[in-house]
C-alpha cells in the first residue's frame, strides 16, 4: 500500500506544476537551498542549548523552562522556514525524492524527532518544576535530550545524503 502511494503518478504531476518548473529551472532552487541550510542550522543551533541543559552539560545556570520559553520559538520559526524551503525543493523532483532512501530516512527521522519533542513537551514537561534548577536532571530528561541531538543530526545527515543519491 505504501509502495503504491510512493509510486503513484501524483508525484509526477507535482513535478509538472508550474511552480515546480519555476523553482527547478531558475536561481530559485539554489536560493531556497541556501536558506534551507541556514534555517536547518538554526533549528539545531537553538535546540542544542535546551538539549545540553537537559543533559546537564550546558547553560546550567538557567532553568529549563526559561531556555525552553526563549529558544524553542526560534527553533520553530527556523523549522517552518526550513519546511517551506524544503517543500519548494521537493516538488521539483517529487517522484524521485519519495523513492530516495535518504529522503525516506529523513522523513522517518523527522517524525521520530517530532515524537520525542512531543513526549518531552506533553509528558515530561508536566513535572519539569522539580528539575527546574538542578543540574543533574532525571534519566528520562537526559534520554529526551540525547535523542533530540542524535535525531536532528540524523535528519541533517539524511538530508545531505539526498543530494548524493538523486
Amino acid at each position: 500500500m505504501i509502495s503504491d502511494f510512493l509510486r503513484s503518478t501524483f508525484w509526477l504531476d507535482v513535478e509538472e506544476w508550474e511552480l515546480s518548473w519555476t523553482i527547478g529551472g531558475t536561481n530559485w532552487f539554489p536560493l531556497l537551498e541556501s536558506i534551507h541550510v541556514i534555517a536547518a542550522a538554526m533549528v539545531v543551533g537553538t535546540i542544542l542549548w535546551v538539549d545540553l541543559r537537559l543533559l546537564g552539560l550546558g547553560a546550567i545556570k538557567y532553568p529549563i523552562t526559561t531556555l525552553n520559553r526563549e529558544l524553542v520559538p526560534w527553533t520553530w520559526g527556523a523549522f517552518i522556514i526550513a519546511t517551506i524551503t524544503g517543500i519548494g525543493m521537493f516538488i521539483t523532483r517529487a517522484a524521485s525524492h519519495v523513492l530516495n532512501p535518504a529522503f525516506q530516512s529523513k522523513i522517518v527521522l523527522l517524525v521520530l524527532a517530532g515524537a520525542n519533542m512531543a513526549y518531552f513537551h506533553l509528558i515530561l514537561y508536566k513535572d519539569i518544576q522539580q528539575h527546574e534548577t538542578v543540574i543533574s536532571t532525571s534519566i528520562q530528561l537526559k534520554i529526551a535530550g540525547s535523542l533530540s541531538l542524535f535525531l536532528w543530526a540524523g535528519v541533517m545527515l539524511a538530508g545531505r545524503w539526498i543530494g548524493h543519491i538523486i
Binding site: 539554489p30 537551498e33 541556501s34 541550510v37 541556514i38 536547518a40 542550522a41 538554526m42 533549528v43 539545531v44 543551533g45 537553538t46 542544542l48 542549548w49 550546558g58 547553560a59 545556570k61 538557567y62 526559561t66 526563549e70 529558544l71 526560534w74 543530526a153 541533517m156 545527515l157 545531505r160 545524503w161 543530494g163 548524493h164
Partner: protein, 177 residues
C-alpha cells in the same frame, strides 16, 4: 582573482594534501555526505553560539541570558566549531584546490569568514579585558554594530558556502581541474 589566491591552489595541487584528501573522499564509503554533515553541524553550532550571541546583543533573542555569562559559555563551542569546519571543509578544498582557488565565490566566502572571525576575536578580547565590558552603557552601540556586522558576515559565509558549488556547476568548464 588575485594571483596569491590562485597561487595557494597551485601550491596544494598535486601535493600529498590533494592525494590524501582525494583518497579519503573516494575510498571511505559515505565519506562525502558524512563530512558535509559534520560541516553543517559546525554551522549549526556557529548559529547557536556566535549568531545567537549577536541576536542577544541586538535584544532580539534570549533576554534572560546575561551577555557576559553567555560570551564565556559560547567561546569554547565557537572555537571548536570553527576548527572542526576548517578540517571538514579542507577535504573538499584540498581535493580540488585549483577549482576552489579559481572560484570567486570561495574567495568571497574566505573574505566574509575573515571579517566574522576578526570581529569575534575583537569582541572576545575586549570581553576578557574587563568583567562586563560589553554591558557598559558607553559600549552598547559598538557592541550592536559588531553584532549586526558579524550577523551579516556569518549569513554571507553560509550563503557563499552553498553557492561555491552552484557557480562551479555553471562555470566549471572555464577552470582547470
Amino acid at each position: 582573482m588575485p594571483e596569491f589566491f590562485t597561487g595557494i591552489g597551485q601550491l596544494i595541487s598535486g601535493s600529498f594534501l590533494q592525494s590524501g584528501a582525494l583518497w579519503t573522499l573516494t575510498n571511505i564509503p559515505g565519506f562525502p555526505p558524512i563530512i558535509q554533515t559534520v560541516h553543517i553541524l559546525g554551522i549549526a553550532v556557529v548559529m547557536g553560539t556566535g549568531v545567537l550571541l549577536n541576536l542577544r546583543i541586538l535584544g532580539l533573542a534570549v533576554p534572560s541570558q546575561n551577555i557576559t555569562e553567555m560570551t564565556d559559555r559560547m567561546v569554547p563551542y565557537l572555537y571548536i566549531a570553527l576548527i572542526s569546519n576548517l578540517v571538514s571543509g579542507s577535504f573538499f578544498v584540498f581535493g580540488r584546490p585549483t577549482r576552489y582557488f579559481n572560484n570567486p565565490v570561495f574567495a568571497w566566502k574566505m573574505l566574509f569568514l575573515l571579517g566574522a572571525i576578526t570581529l569575534t576575536i575583537y569582541f572576545f578580547t575586549k570581553h576578557r579585558s574587563k568583567v562586563g565590558y560589553w554591558e557598559q552603557e558607553n559600549k552598547k552601540w559598538i557592541a550592536r554594530s559588531i553584532a549586526i556586522l558579524s550577523l551579516g558576515f556569518w549569513i554571507m559565509v553560509s550563503l557563499a558556502g552553498r553557492w561555491i558549488a552552484y557557480l562551479e556547476h555553471l562555470q566549471y568548464p572555464m577552470w582547470s581541474i
